[in-house]
């Protein structure tokens, strides 16, 4: 991470222990999960106390519970993480926060029973929300009896969170879906997240690496900074072995 990146995280406004661009804005849990992952892999990014506080705050937040509804197939009693406090749990914030808590465990930070149970429930939610043929969309697999389609980018993120659940049938189905789709993608975000996922799962990623590099050369991802950062991280695997996302 660049000096600018460190400074940005230090500058982020605390909301309790969570981080936000602006003290008045709702804290974005997906962003906080990602920030925690970076802080765990690069101790120079945030102080140990702030990292620890951030992880506790993440563990303490959960999505709202909605009544079970026949319009949706999922189990609404399961709670993962919402994008912002006071809303329902969705796949992307759940995946980043779940991965951060798992990373906390493997980094030797003491983990309480409460955090262990959040990890278990987060995994159950992701498994429950997977699309029938594998993969994930934003977080509804069936609405009004219709199977919804998975997205490549969200699938890659959810798979990162389930990388230690290789025997789980949902993981296998979703990985197969991603392997079938990754090279067909026309966006930097899908290619970059797929490449990170391929690295973590130790899949052959040469063709995907080449495709992403060409895509960057041709399109620069429409100037999207988040996508650019993810892509450059994915392309520079030799420097860091994708350790920020690997358990």
């Amino acid at each position: 991470m660049s000096e600018g990146g460190n400074a940005f995280l230090e500058r982020c406004q605390p909301q309790g222990a969570l981080l936000a661009d602006d003290p008045q804005q709702p804290a974005n849990l997906a962003f906080n999960g990602l920030a925690a992952l970076l802080a765990l892999s690069r101790p120079d990014v945030l102080s140990r106390a702030r990292t620890s506080g951030l992880l506790s705050a993440i563990a303490g937040l959960r999505g709202i519970v909605l009544p079970q509804a026949r319009e949706f197939r999922q189990d609404n009693s399961l709670t993962g993480w919402p994008w912002i406090d006071g809303t329902f749990s969705w796949v992307e914030p759940t995946s980043w926060c779940l991965l951060a808590l798992k990373k906390m465990k493997t980094s030797g930070v003491p983990v309480t029973g409460a955090i262990e149970s959040r990890i278990v429930e987060g995994e159950r939610l992701l498994i429950d929300r997977a699309c029938a043929a594998g993969g994930w969309n934003f977080g509804n697999s069936v609405v009004l009896g219709q199977d919804l389609r998975p997205y490549v980018s969200t699938t890659a993120i959810a798979l990162l969170a389930l990388q230690d659940r290789l025997r789980e049938p949902v993981t296998a189905r979703s990985l197969a879906y991603l392997q079938g789709q990754a090279l067909r993608q026309t966006s930097g975000m899908s290619l970059a997240l797929s490449l990170i996922c391929f690295r973590v799962f130790r899949l052959d990623s040469d063709a995907l690496q080449q495709r992403l590099a060409e895509h960057w050369r041709d399109r620069q991802f429409l100037g999207n900074l988040h996508v650019t950062a993810m892509a450059h991280y994915a392309l520079n695997h030799a420097q860091h072995k994708t350790s920020a996302f690997t358990l």
Binding site: Q25, E71, G86, T87, L144, S153, L222
Partner: protein
């Protein structure tokens, strides 16, 4: 964004008895007293909606839309204009999005009408992969050809804006500066059914200005506070000055994403978004007076009664049809 209390919402009701709530008389329980200051709003005496033929996406939309804007007397000279299409999801052969030919045609028409600047902006509610949507739908290609800039409203700079009505009970929303500083906001919906709201019209289309970077994907705060309530608060706060509907090929059945394409063959243009939505509802066989958000809008935002709506261009009878509806929306059917 601070919310103290969640209102009785049609969305949360839907999880128990959605259909019953949807076709019931307006149940905005929070609004026994009006959730807005009546003095802040004026419903126009009359509203005009212009229907223009467009048999397919090969027509000259700059000409079609330019003539409709002229018919309605829209003055765009020197204005900064933001076009807000409906860009949701891309799938070959589907009719999910406002067609890029219509968006580009509108941009050209508005520039020809003397606008100082035209920008296209959208913040899709499920997908945050904008490059995928722009390339898949072809919109980036069309906009490059005419030199018009696209803004991802999910990621744009934002400002906190107090809401001008309180159907949701939210005091404010963070909204993109690109929308707030536009002199003219043009809502460009696709003519589609919507499995919760009934219709994806001009008013529902404003969900796309709510930034995902602040509220997430989906923009769940709008759902938990009630889809219909959120439609009303957004439209009370951000005015769409012009609506241009892509009714060339609509979507029937399980819209706004999983439905089937249905050729209809028109473009609708109007100033009053409630009047345009009511007209489109009638065109596809829905009764605006059975649609709670339109009924509520008619009290402070616009006209939905045909007696107050002047039809310009082609007669409504030319395009009137009955879209297939999912069962739960049958209660919204226009009784003929």
């Amino acid at each position: 964004m601070r919310s103290t209390k969640r209102p009785p919402s049609l969305f949360s009701v839907s999880r128990r008895r959605f259909l019953g709530a949807l076709i019931a008389p307006i149940a905005f329980g929070a609004c026994r007293s009006r959730p807005y200051r009546a003095a802040d709003f004026t419903v126009p005496e009359r509203s005009a909606v212009c229907l223009s033929p467009a048999a397919d996406y090969g027509v000259d939309f700059a000409d079609v839309i330019g003539r409709a804007l002229g018919e309605l007397g829209v003055d765009l000279r020197g204005r900064r204009v933001l076009l807000k299409p409906n860009l949701v999801e891309y799938d070959d052969g589907s009719a999910t999005n406002t067609h890029p030919a219509v968006v580009a045609g509108a941009a050209e028409a508005i520039l020809r009408a003397g606008a100082a600047e035209v920008v296209v902006g959208e913040g899709p509610g499920h997908r945050r992969d904008m490059e995928y949507l722009l390339t898949g739908s072809g919109l980036d290609h069309y906009l490059r050809d005419i030199g018009v800039r696209f803004v991802d409203l999910n990621l744009a700079d934002v400002r906190r804006v107090p809401l001008r009505s309180r159907f949701t009970t939210l005091p404010d929303l963070w909204l993109p500066v690109d929308v707030l500083r536009a002199d003219v906001v043009v809502s460009m919906p696709k003519l589609k059914t919507h499995h919760w709201a009934g219709l994806t019209g001009s008013m529902k289309n404003l969900f796309g200005i709510v930034p995902g970077a602040v509220y997430g994907w989906p923009k769940n705060v709008l759902h938990t506070h009630g889809i219909e309530n959120s439609i009303l608060d957004l439209n009370a706060t951000v005015r769409s000055h012009v609506t241009i509907v892509d009714g060339v090929i609509g979507m029937e059945g399980d819209g706004p994403i999983m439905g089937r394409p249905r050729p209809v063959g028109f473009v609708a243009v109007g100033i009053d978004p409630a009047a345009v939505d009511a007209t489109c509802a009638r065109l596809i066989g829905l009764d605006p007076f059975r649609m709670p958000y339109l009924v509520a809008a008619s009290r402070f935002l616009g006209n939905i009664d045909m007696r107050q709506v002047d039809q310009r261009g082609e007669p409504i009878s030319r395009y009137r049809t009955r879209f297939d509806l999912i069962e739960r929306l049958n209660g919204l059917r226009l009784q003929s």
